[in-house]
């Protein structure tokens, strides 16, 4: 479960890794928007090819991609099935009250491709961007909202502190689980109640240490005169680079290809 949140990021130095996180987020939003207005099968093919090419360019292995798809497999299957059986149109096959229509097949395939592309593209973002860079980018993109009194900075701070401590807690959980296993604890067997009960020896120490950590952190922040909402500077000011320009150009070419496919 922790993997979903942090185990995602894979170190690397591909063009995808080097592109500014803000650029990646904006391009991902445009990508998603485009994905939901296309109609022509050729556009879907272009999307599939483009997404595959990006994955390969980022040096992301098949395994990592499957890992991000797996938790959502039921949603994909469910959507496909619903579209397959419940789309009105000319029935090709029908038995009892259920009919499969040409339109149904068309829609099911399209929805599946859409979902797959969307999942893979968004995990490309998290796979090639360290979590903290990601929160910084979100903060930077949302900073205009600060004018509307939205506490963007505080939210970003909370997010990065959370992200910062997930690996620490994950490691701690791992150690506690091992320690209790060494005392013969048996996780993952028995009914729901006995499974829930078997978590107590792990959750209790984990909560205690999390609270203690939170308290220590608060004290340390106080000791260094942390003031909520004060303007802050960053160690690394993110400047756009040629890599970002290249990413933009690649995306424009891709969008043009999709537009051409749609208009043909």
């Amino acid at each position: 479960m922790v993997d979903i949140l942090i185990g995602q990021y894979l170190t690397g130095s591909s063009a995808l890794h080097r592109t500014d996180a803000r650029v990646k987020i904006i391009l991902l939003i445009l990508y998603a928007a485009l994905l939901f207005i296309i109609k022509n099968p050729l556009s879907y093919a272009i999307f599939l090819i483009f997404t595959t090419a990006l994955t390969m360019m980022g040096g992301i292995g098949f395994k990592a991609v499957m890992k991000s798809i797996k938790p959502l497999r039921w949603i994909i299957i469910f959507t496909a099935v619903i579209n397959l059986f419940f789309t009105k149109g000319e029935p090709l096959l029908s038995f009892w009250k259920i009919a499969i229509t040409a339109e149904g097949i068309d829609l099911a395939v399209k929805m599946t491709v859409r979902l797959l592309c969307l999942i893979v593209a968004s995990s490309l973002l998290t796979l090639t961007t360290p979590p903290l860079t990601l929160t910084n980018a979100i903060e930077s993109l949302l900073s205009p909202l600060a004018k509307l009194k939205v506490p963007v900075r505080e939210l970003a701070m909370m997010m990065s502190i959370t992200l910062r401590f997930i690996p620490v807690l994950a490691e701690e959980a791992d150690r506690i689980i091992k320690a209790q296993t060494a005392r013969g604890a048996d996780f993952g067997s028995g009914g729901i109640i006995s499974r829930a009960k078997s978590l107590v020896p792990v959750m209790m120490p984990l909560f205690i240490s999390a609270f203690k950590r939170a308290e220590d952190l608060a004290t340390a922040m106080d000791a260094r005169c942390f003031i909520s909402g004060a303007p802050r500077t960053k160690l690394h000011e993110e400047k756009l680079t040629p890599a970002d320009a290249r990413a933009g150009v690649v995306f424009v070419v891709f969008a043009a290809a999709v537009a051409a496919a749609e208009l043909l």
């Binding site: 150690r175 506690i176 005392r183 013969g184 048996d186 020896p201 792990v202 120490p205 240490s209």
Partner: protein, 282 residues
């Protein structure tokens, strides 16, 4: 007996990245021995001992506990864990139950022992570590640091393992707490348990252990009796360790012409000095 053959292990830290933590380890730890495992931070001590009751599976190599290969695909790891007790570093951080009693009972209950037997074992383990009846009904969080540590150790002892492995058992304790822990280790050893503990402290290793294993960068650097290992102060210094302070002082005094044999503990040093002073007086 614990036997390790050609053990290798790497932590997988990413899709392609890994950190080789153990390199071709070969070891044998005899029954009823008292061994210290020393090594610089990150040398792989904790990783190695977590292999010894199957918490970590090696990438390659075999581990035998009394002729049972625990690295075999179908090894009964739960049984192994009752035979080989493992006390983690800062074990008090794993206390969880409402009372010390219940916490100590966790292990024996997992062994599916009868209520009477569990009770007997809890009292026995508490007594072994020097916790009287009163603290047993308290919440573990009301105990002092040293008491918490001992309560946690009792939790493992209550499973009556034949071999007990402790990771940095004295870390973070005050001098009295350390004394108590090492006295306990010696007592358990005398009662027939095979003991292995890791340590950063040459002093603790020298005064408690019979044998010493030195690790460096995931490899076994040296292995031998206390005297054999700490006679090699120069080599130890190269890997971030050293001989005990008293050994260094004795060596310097000898270089100055005093008739002092190699010593490894304060007691030995005292004897040697007494001899010199006594010799001059008489």
């Amino acid at each position: 007996m614990i036997r390790i053959e050609n053990l290798n292990y790497a932590y997988k830290t990413g899709a392609k990245n890994q950190k080789q933590a153990l390199v071709n380890i070969n070891l044998e730890i005899a029954d009823n021995s008292l061994t210290a495992l020393i090594g610089h931070t990150g040398s792989g001590k904790s990783t190695l001992i977590r292999h010894l009751n199957g918490l970590i599976k090696p990438d390659s190599g075999k581990i035998f506990i009394d002729d049972t290969e625990i690295t075999a695909p179908k090894a009964d790891l739960r049984r192994v864990r009752f035979d080989v007790g493992l006390v983690f570093q800062y074990p008090e951080q794993q206390l969880f139950a409402e009372t010390v009693y219940k916490d100590i009972a966790f292990g024996p209950e997992n062994m599916k022992l009868g209520a009477d037997e569990v009770k007997r074992r809890v009292y026995e383990a508490a007594e072994m570590v020097g916790l009287s009846e009163k603290p047993l009904e308290k919440s573990p969080f009301e105990l002092s640091g040293g008491q918490k540590r001992r309560a946690a150790i009792a939790g493992v002892l209550a499973m009556k393992p034949k071999k007990l492995i402790m990771d940095e058992p004295a870390a973070g304790l005050d001098p009295r707490g350390r004394e108590e822990i090492f006295a306990l280790i010696k007592r358990l050893h005398k009662s027939g348990m095979t003991m292995l503990f890791t340590s950063h402290s040459m002093e603790d290793a020298a005064k408690t252990a019979e044998r010493v294993i030195v690790m460096d960068k995931g490899k076994i650097f040296a292995e031998g009796s206390v005297a054999e290992i700490f006679a090699r102060g120069g080599e130890l210094r190269k890997i971030g360790l050293d001989a005990p302070q008293v050994t260094i002082i004795a060596d310097k005094l000898r270089a100055l012409g005093y008739d002092i044999p190699p010593v490894y503990t304060v007691e030995q040093m005292l004897l040697a000095i007494r001899k010199i002073i006594g010799g001059k007086n008489g």
